[in-house]
């Protein structure tokens, strides 16, 4: 094992992640590894100052519950950091484009698996160090306030170690998933694709729940007092070290410290073993049985809907892309992920809150779905876009085809969601109609915004984790979509939340609804023209 090799590989891997978005690669200061140090320092100081400032304003008696939990929070930090890195590992696997999943330098360069695993874990640790610095900033403020500085120092040390250990776990996950997915896909055909999609959605839902502050707080409250009971679970060991140290038991702290280090080394060993054993480029052969008619497309569903042969072909191809590519699953999983917290947190709400909350969740969930699907519609072509550029299709056809799938999917859901929720929560007629109107118009607006920015700022580069749209495009799309939807819902919002004022200026429910429809129609008309024009501009010359 050569330390120089580890340093070089870690640096390259870090650069590849920092420059993954492709725009002005290498030129920006923030795309250099050294810049991360400054970012981490800023995050640490900001988190620390923020918590100190809050604790200075909050009355002492209200800080009591936090004081009681401070020790458990400090003890839990290493475990939280580890879990974050595990989730990062899972996300990396989900987001990884298929053709890159088994083509890493470890396979063909004179680098040992140990060097690669260490370098990869270190680069991942450094890349996501801001999570640790944020947590350490917050906990330092708590430790200073409640006189636990020594405990904090040990917790920080163990957390840093567990961050690297988390990197080893990510490597284990990646190696295992690579192998399992290869064998599974080989045998499973279509069912493998469906199972993989379901698994990814499940992981995303669980990860989303993990980062929900309410749920995290409840879990901590139940889990933290059980640390000693669960002493035989290795991820608990650093927490026990912190608790032992706080209780003045140096022997206990030393024993569990040794165990923690041994656990970390064992995971590293396992990571190295799995890399060496399984991380080989296996050609994944997925065989799909032909459907009726020998697998050739006739007029099809989209033909029946009025699309021509070329348009139907593109829509079908994009639909297959959406369900067969694992990196696309995260986009259509959005509404599912949005619904879970809704179901978990609506229990104690009154009806007014519920209207607004459900409208917001539906609009954000489905709007985001539509926005993402249309934002990715051009970029997901990647370097295969030459197929479209070299074929005899018109810009109009391309635009219709690229708009159709996101619009169809999100509009179907935009009708189903409000109807189902109105029935479940027994909304009145006006509330149901308002929800349905806002959903249909809002989703259409967001799809068109996505279509415009997707065609204007496509990212056709193929990398381990393709983004399909540039950072600028994504940011602008979110801004414009936010402003447009706000403009769309404002008449109904004024009626719902400032009813007296609305009625005083003659805005009853019907007027508010009509105003929303008019605003929506204008927005849709403007955005439709803009999107068509952006697509036409994109189609003028092949970007690759």
């Amino acid at each position: 094992m050569r330390l120089k090799n580890i340093r070089i590989i870690a640096n390259i891997l870090l650069l590849s992640q920092l420059r993954a978005s492709g725009e002005k690669a290498g030129k920006s200061f923030f795309r250099r590894p050294m810049a991360l140090l400054i970012v981490n320092a800023v995050v640490f100081v900001a988190a620390f100052i923020f918590v100190i400032a809050i604790m200075n304003v909050v009355p002492l008696e209200e800080l009591m519950p936090i004081q009681l939990m401070a020790m458990q929070i400090l003890a839990s930090v290493p475990m939280i950091v580890l879990l974050f890195m595990v989730i990062y590992g899972i996300f990396f696997v989900i987001g990884e484009t298929a053709q890159f999943s088994s083509s890493e330098m470890v396979n063909y360069m004179p680098i040992s698996a140990t060097e690669y695993v260490l370098a990869s874990s270190l680069s991942a640790t450094f890349m996501y160090l801001y999570i640790l610095t944020a947590v350490l900033g917050i906990t330092l403020a708590l430790a200073l306030r409640f006189n636990m500085l020594a405990v904090w120092a040990f917790s920080a040390l163990l957390s840093s170690f567990f961050m690297v250990v988390g990197g080893f776990v990510s490597e284990i996950i990646r190696a295992l998933v690579n192998r399992v997915s290869s064998s599974f896909s080989k045998r499973g055909g279509r069912s493998a694709i469906i199972s993989r999609a379901i698994l990814i959605v499940f992981v995303l839902v669980v990860s989303q729940l993990f980062f929900n502050p309410n749920i995290l707080y409840s879990v901590l409250g139940v889990f933290a007092p059980q640390i000693y009971v669960l002493w035989f679970i290795p991820v608990m060991w650093p927490s026990i070290v912190v608790m032992e140290l706080a209780n003045g038991s140096l022997l206990g702290a030393a024993i569990f410290s040794c165990l923690t280090v041994a656990f970390g080394l064992a995971l590293m060993g396992l990571g190295v073993y799995l890399r060496a054993r399984y991380w080989v480029p296996l050609p994944v052969t997925i065989k799909l049985a032909s459907s009726k008619g020998g697998g050739y497309r006739g007029r099809g569903v989209f033909g029946t809907l009025g699309f021509n042969q070329a348009e139907s072909a593109i829509i079908s191809k994009d639909a297959r892309s959406l369900f067969r590519r694992k990196e696309m699953v995260r986009f259509w999983a959005i509404p599912i992920i949005m619904i879970i917290p809704l179901l978990l947190t609506t229990g104690s709400m009154d009806y007014y809150k519920l209207y607004g909350y459900i409208a917001m969740i539906c609009l954000i969930g489905l709007g985001m779905l539509g926005l993402f699907l249309s934002l990715m519609s051009v970029g997901q072509e990647g370097r295969a876009v030459w197929n479209l550029f070299s074929s005899p299709i018109s810009v109009g056809s391309l635009f219709r085809a690229k708009l159709a799938l996101p619009l169809l999917i999100s509009l179907i859901l935009a009708v189903i969601f409000p109807v189902v929720f109105s029935a479940i929560f027994r909304f009145g007629f006006n509330a149901s109609v308002a929800l349905l109107t806002v959903m249909v118009l809002g989703t259409t607006v967001m799809v068109l915004v996505g279509c415009y920015f997707g065609a204007r700022y496509p990212d056709l580069e193929e990398r381990p984790r393709s983004s399909y749209v540039t950072g600028t495009g994504m940011l602008l799309a979110f801004l414009v979509a936010g402003v447009a939807v706000l403009a769309l819902v404002s008449p109904l919002m004024v009626y719902a939340f400032a009813k007296q004022f609305a009625l005083s200026i003659g805005m009853n429910f019907l007027v508010s609804l009509v105003a929303t429809v008019v605003v929506g129609a204008v927005l849709i008309a403007v955005l439709f023209r803009a999107s068509a024009s952006a697509m036409s501009k994109f189609f003028r010359e092949s970007p690759i």
């Binding site: 050609p283 799909l288 191809k317 892309s321 590519r325 197929n387 074929s391 005899p392 010359e541």
Partner: protein, 255 residues
């Protein structure tokens, strides 16, 4: 004879790099035409301009009388294109991809079924057609792209290094196919670095260098122009492109 391709004073700049520099060329219908040139000589750019993928900086291109910039649909309808490094949709099966391409070109259902099955059989892809392309080898991918370019019975084939990665049998099929298609009036323009192939199947060849046309004509004419009548096309190519210092380079490398 009718001109399939007419290129006049064509230039293309990529920033400060001149990919094509005032190139003029005419290719007659039914010819198998070879484009030769070292890496970076502008062959791929020229082909992309012919398909309408890239806009020229100046000059004009006519494909059967149509300008790819003005009426790209009309041009692409009659062209079958094989790019140099074709990226395919990895999530589709080979058959789904060909079905998709046939639909883009408006090939009717029965015709596409018949042609795809026919080509899959000929290129020995039968039995693998329902596998996702992600599991295909480079040669299999190349076969799929070549089939895709032929499905709609194009009048002009533009093929950038089409024999890359093909096994000898498939390469022979492609070569014989191009030969047969030329008898039916199909024009083929293809680039290759394998000069023996160019010599064997091309009626005419053009040697490009730094975006310009160095020499154009039948292989025998090129040899005469270079003053090397008894030499191979490789020797003529190296002399014309000024890259005949190979021996010195090799000697330097093995030091």
């Amino acid at each position: 004879m009718t001109k399939a391709v007419e290129i006049s004073s064509l230039s293309k700049d990529f920033g400060s790099v001149k990919a094509l520099n005032g190139l003029s060329l005419g290719i007659e219908e039914g010819q198998v035409y070879g484009l030769l040139g070292p890496n970076g000589s502008g062959k791929s750019t020229l082909m992309k301009i012919m398909v309408g993928l890239v806009r020229p900086t100046s000059g004009s291109v006519r494909i059967y009388g149509n300008d790819p910039q003005v009426d790209p649909k009309a041009v692409r309808r009659v062209v079958g294109y094989v790019p140099e490094m074709p990226r395919l949709y990895d999530f589709l099966t080979g058959k789904e991809y060909l079905d998709f391409v046939a639909d883009l070109y408006g090939v009717p259902l029965e015709a596409k079924r018949e042609r795809i099955e026919h080509f899959l059989e000929a290129f020995e892809l039968k039995g693998r057609e329902d596998e996702m392309i992600s599991g295909y080898s480079q040669g299999m991918r190349q076969k799929v792209v070549i089939i895709g370019a032929l499905l709609h019975k194009p009048r002009l084939l533009i093929m950038d290094e089409p024999l890359n990665g093909l096994d000898p049998r498939s390469a022979k099929i492609v070569k014989d196919l191009l030969h047969e298609l030329s008898h039916e009036g199909v024009t083929t323009i293809f680039s290759t670095h394998i000069l023996e192939i160019a010599q064997a199947i091309c009626e005419r060849v053009a040697i490009m260098y730094k975006g310009a046309l160095l020499s154009e004509g039948r292989v025998e004419d090129l040899k005469a122009v270079a003053g090397m009548p008894g030499s191979s096309l490789e020797d003529v190519f190296l002399k014309l492109t000024g890259t005949d210092d190979v021996r010195a380079v090799v000697e330097e490398l093995i030091k």
